[in-house]
């Protein structure tokens, strides 16, 4: 087997050194009743070539672009990824290393993550960011736990327009705690209704997503003020950070902690993971931040270098008192996002964000004039909710057969919006495809 270098002679001479008659002897500390009775019952090993064939047949029939036209975002966005970035991710000194515990031989990872922390902080308008968390859902959960720790209060107010699946993760993280999760309803214009805040006491944090799940831009500044007025923290969440290339960043709107999903920053969708859990914070809260942090320092000769720092927050030092249990994070995805942001640059991200928005507005306009109702009038980024005329379900199925996925049906997530669909257009969505969709829906 090409992955196992041992020849019979190697094994023999090694056993001699070890003083064992055969390899089984090395397992003598494993009691019989802890062992499996039979041999592994697994399929015959595939050669590299059989594996390729197997995988090729496995993915046949998957509904992916370019074969399929997919107008669905909802937390997983289709953006172009430069070949230069894909190429650089093949640099195996970076991909086959682990957490940079030995900084002297990990400066590549460390500088890259330090740069990631910086770029992400700049994108979100925050003072600092960690080295990554798993995904948008766990990032939100960690951000809320962090807010509760900071304020010492128990009530957590969550906008109902935060990605429904992120909120599901939050529920999971909070179930063994005695903190109270309160959901804030939404208004007819598609933004969070905060009036309920008045009824809440011991309020630790108010969390809102912008652009929210309906693609609408929230008035983060107002939400932030309301939170702060109640001595609570303002946590801003996101699923589409590209929006901040154009729209105001959470940091400039008073967010104390910003968290979300970074998949759209150059990371392929890959059926939902790995994505990138982003968590950024005001510097004053840095010692409450979960996960790894890379910091700049000097070596013995005064030369600039980078290390993992503030480790006393972390499980391997603090154990049960750590700010989080996270150890392995999504470092390579953070690196990808950094490469992507570096490739785009400030000028590029502005233009790209603008293009995303304009494409989406075009689709919105065309669908509207084709007789579909645009449900919320609040400005959106690259997603919006539409209500097609009655009996669209069949149309939706018919379009699937034509290899068009006409957005995400909202019913499972917002029963009151049965018959409404969340549509998405990015820079990868051509005018031609949008016109096709509009035509097909109409016909």
């Amino acid at each position: 087997m090409r992955y196992l270098p041992h020849t019979p002679e190697d094994i023999a001479s090694m056993l001699e050194v070890v003083g064992a008659g055969d390899v089984d002897e090395l397992f003598r500390t494993v009691p019989q009743d802890c062992r499996r009775s039979g041999e592994l019952n697994l399929p015959d090993p595939l050669t590299e070539w059989e594996l390729n064939d197997h995988m090729a047949s496995l993915v046949r029939g998957m509904g992916v672009s370019p074969e399929y036209k997919i107008f669905m975002g909802a937390g997983s966005y289709d953006h172009y990824i430069p070949e230069s970035v894909s190429y650089l991710l093949g640099r195996s000194e970076l991909t086959t290393a682990y957490t940079p515990y030995q900084p002297e031989m990990s400066q590549g990872t460390l500088q890259a993550i330090y740069e990631y922390q910086t770029l992400v902080s700049r994108l979100l308008g925050m003072e600092t960011a960690n080295a990554s968390l798993y995904d948008g859902g766990s990032a939100l959960a960690e951000a809320l736990l962090m807010a509760v720790r900071i304020t010492g209060r128990k009530t957590v107010a969550l906008s109902s327009l935060i990605h429904p699946l992120y909120r599901r993760v939050v529920e999971t993280y909070f179930q063994p705690t005695d903190y109270v999760l309160v959901e804030l309803p939404y208004t007819g214009s598609g933004t969070t209704d905060t009036t309920k805040l008045n009824e809440l006491d011991d309020l630790a944090v108010v969390a809102v997503q912008s652009p929210n799940f309906f693609g609408c831009i929230e008035n983060m500044e107002r939400v932030g003020q309301e939170a702060h007025a109640r001595g609570a923290l303002f946590v801003a969440a996101f699923s589409e950070p590209l929006a901040y290339g154009l729209f105001k960043s959470p940091g400039t709107q008073g967010a104390d902690i910003v968290c979300g999903e970074g998949q759209s920053l150059g990371i392929p969708r890959t059926f939902g993971g790995p994505g990138l859990g982003i968590l950024a914070s005001k510097m004053q809260y840095v010692r409450h931040v979960p996960g790894r942090l890379v910091g700049q320092t000097k070596d013995r000769d005064g030369k600039r270098g980078f290390v993992l720092t503030l480790a006393t927050r972390e499980q391997h030092i603090r154990r049960e008192k750590a700010t989080s249990n996270i150890c392995t994070n999504n470092s390579l995805c953070a690196l990808t996002a950094a490469m992507y942001m570096a490739s785009l640059g400030g000028t590029g991200i502005r233009e790209l964000a603008r293009l995303n928005r304009d494409k989406c507005e075009y689709l919105k306009k065309q669908l509207a004039s084709a007789g579909n109702r645009i449900v919320f009038e609040t400005p959106t980024f690259n997603e919006f909710v539409m209500e097609p005329p009655q009996g669209f379900d069949e149309v939706y199925q018919r379009l699937l057969a034509k290899k068009i996925v006409a957005g995400l049906p909202l019913k499972p997530y917002y029963p009151e919006l049965a018959g409404c669909y969340l549509l998405c257009a990015t820079e990868t969505t051509s005018k031609a495809d949008m016109d096709l969709l509009v035509k097909e829906i109409a016909s």
Binding site: L26, S249, K303, G345, E351
Partner: protein, 484 residues
């Protein structure tokens, strides 16, 4: 004898991204605009981020240079204990790049995602066969999240029994994520010492296991690389008091084809696919930490679950007692693809993987004991733990020893963990290292031990070959500079 890999050569300085570039450059091809600019409420518009503008070559050179300051498994031996830094086959990465998977939206209608679902379904079955457990969720994004999921399952199970318990037993050899995950689930960690053989003695467990204790988190093989021989008896003690047994299976590379975790009395187990199943560690992740349970706990597994339905596969939320969702979607799918592809490439050869991993560890142990103090002189599993005890006389520490190892061209082992061994040096060679490379590594450590006696300064000054010398971690933490 072959020369040691460590050498110095030309590498290239590279500034920080924002120390490069000029406004107006762009390193990415921007798509052609085929729609009109839409009106935009200026009140909503922000500054846009202050990113440096770089051309494509700037970006390519930046990361090419950075990569050369790094050391990965592809660079050389990386015997980081407890992390199973084995070779990551390139073919597995290729499978994860298949557009049919890499391009797949997680919320596609099931009829458009059968292949992706089938892979998950089959991987669950394969892992069940390998572990001896009954049901599996692939959702946890890493080992720690797997532990948390496991704690939640135990928490939910106890609730279902109408019992609320506040404590959980955590041995002193446990990885830091264990107590942290328990705490996240509201359990107080009750620490128990391992005996002088480095494993848990049933009596110690019996002493503290009570009706207010949810159970035990045991790592097997434990972080000393030793098999918990009394695991079954311990499980009986815990079960007898109504508790459950959680097994941290991060070290499963020791026992594939040999262990039956189910038979050990374990109720919940997590695996680290990025260790045992060869997925690249990515400089710190992503990983995957599937959670495996015996049938009586299946109903608590995270949702959605992949189920077979009339010849196909669907995602089902229909598990009212489930602990819920841990990941926005289904976990680190790209990592699952690599593990699946690895398992299909190995088949029953996985048993040899573990046998050779254990052989390599014992070989290193035997050849180095005497040179370094062996914490527990017993047959080890996939890794062995030494300490700097014998070097104390020369005022040389574990840190000095491993920093010197860098100059020899090897990645250091895990150090100062597990905590039960002072100045621990935890070596996990993995099965993909050949005997010649093991010998080179061993000879390097022997040479370093000699240097420690004869010229300790060599160790104190190490490393000298890297781009930077030892870094000032104290001031980094005192005056944190986390962004530029």
């Amino acid at each position: 004898m072959r020369e040691f890999p460590g050498a110095t050569g030309l590498i290239l300085n590279e500034p920080l991204l924002w120390e490069k570039g000029k406004k107006g450059r762009c390193g990415m091809s921007l798509p052609r605009r085929d729609v009109e600019p839409a009106p935009l409420d200026e009140a909503l518009v922000g500054e846009g981020p202050d990113f440096p503008d770089l051309s494509e070559i700037d970006v390519v050179r930046h990361y090419t240079r950075l990569s050369q300051w790094n050391f990965g498994v592809d660079s050389g031996m990386y015997p980081l204990g407890s992390c199973t830094m084995k070779y990551n086959p390139k073919i597995n990465d290729k499978q994860a790049r298949l557009q049919g998977l890499a391009g797949a939206h997680p919320l596609l209608p099931p009829e458009l995602s059968q292949g992706a679902l089938r892979l998950m379904f089959e991987l669950e079955r394969l892992l069940a066969e390998i572990t001896g457990m009954d049901a599996i969720s692939l959702q946890p994004a890493a080992g720690a999240q797997g532990e948390f999921a496991g704690m939640l399952i135990i928490y939910r199970y106890l609730h279902s029994q109408g019992s609320r318990r506040t404590k959980i037993i955590v041995p002193d050899t446990a990885h830091g994520t264990n107590p942290a995950s328990a705490a996240l689930c509201g359990f107080r960690a009750m620490h128990v010492k391992s005996n002088d053989e480095g494993i848990l003695s049933p009596s110690a467990i019996a002493e503290i296991m009570d009706e207010d204790t949810a159970g035990i988190m045991v790592t097997n093989p434990n972080t000393l690389g030793l098999f918990e021989e009394h695991i079954r008896e311990i499980a009986e003690i815990v079960h007898a008091k109504g508790g459950l047994v959680y097994c941290d299976g991060a070290n499963m590379n020791a026992g594939m084809g040999v262990f039956d975790v189910g038979r050990m009395g374990v109720d919940v187990l997590h695996l680290n696919l990025h260790k045992t199943f060869s997925t690249p560690h990515g400089g710190g992740g992503p990983g995957a930490g599937p959670i495996c349970v015996k049938s009586h706990l299946e109903r608590f597994l995270p949702v959605p679950r992949i189920v077979e339905a009339n010849g196909g596969y669907v995602l089902s939320e229909d598990y009212p007692e489930s602990v819920g969702k841990l990941h926005s979607f289904y976990g680190n799918y790209g990592v699952l693809v690599r593990a699946y592809s690895y398992i299909l490439s190995m088949g029953a050869e996985l048993k040899n993987v573990s046998r050779l991993a254990v052989l390599n560890a014992n070989y290193v142990k035997e050849r180095l004991k005497g040179t370094f103090h062996l914490a527990y002189d017993r047959p080890c599993m996939h890794e062995c733990v030494f300490s700097d005890k014998l070097q104390h006389d020369y005022k040389v520490t574990t840190l000095d020893i491993v920093k010197r190892l860098i100059d020899y061209g090897f990645h250091p082992p895990t150090v100062y963990f597990p905590l039960v061994v002072n100045g621990a040096i935890m070596i996990e060679p993995t099965e993909t290292e050949c005997k010649e490379d093991l010998d080179l590594f061993i000879d390097a450590l022997i040479a370093i031990a000699k240097e420690a006696e004869e010229d300790p300064e060599l160790l104190k000054e190490a490393p000298t070959r890297c781009k930077v010398r030892r870094l000032d971690e104290t001031s980094a933490a005192r005056r944190p500079c986390l962004t530029g």
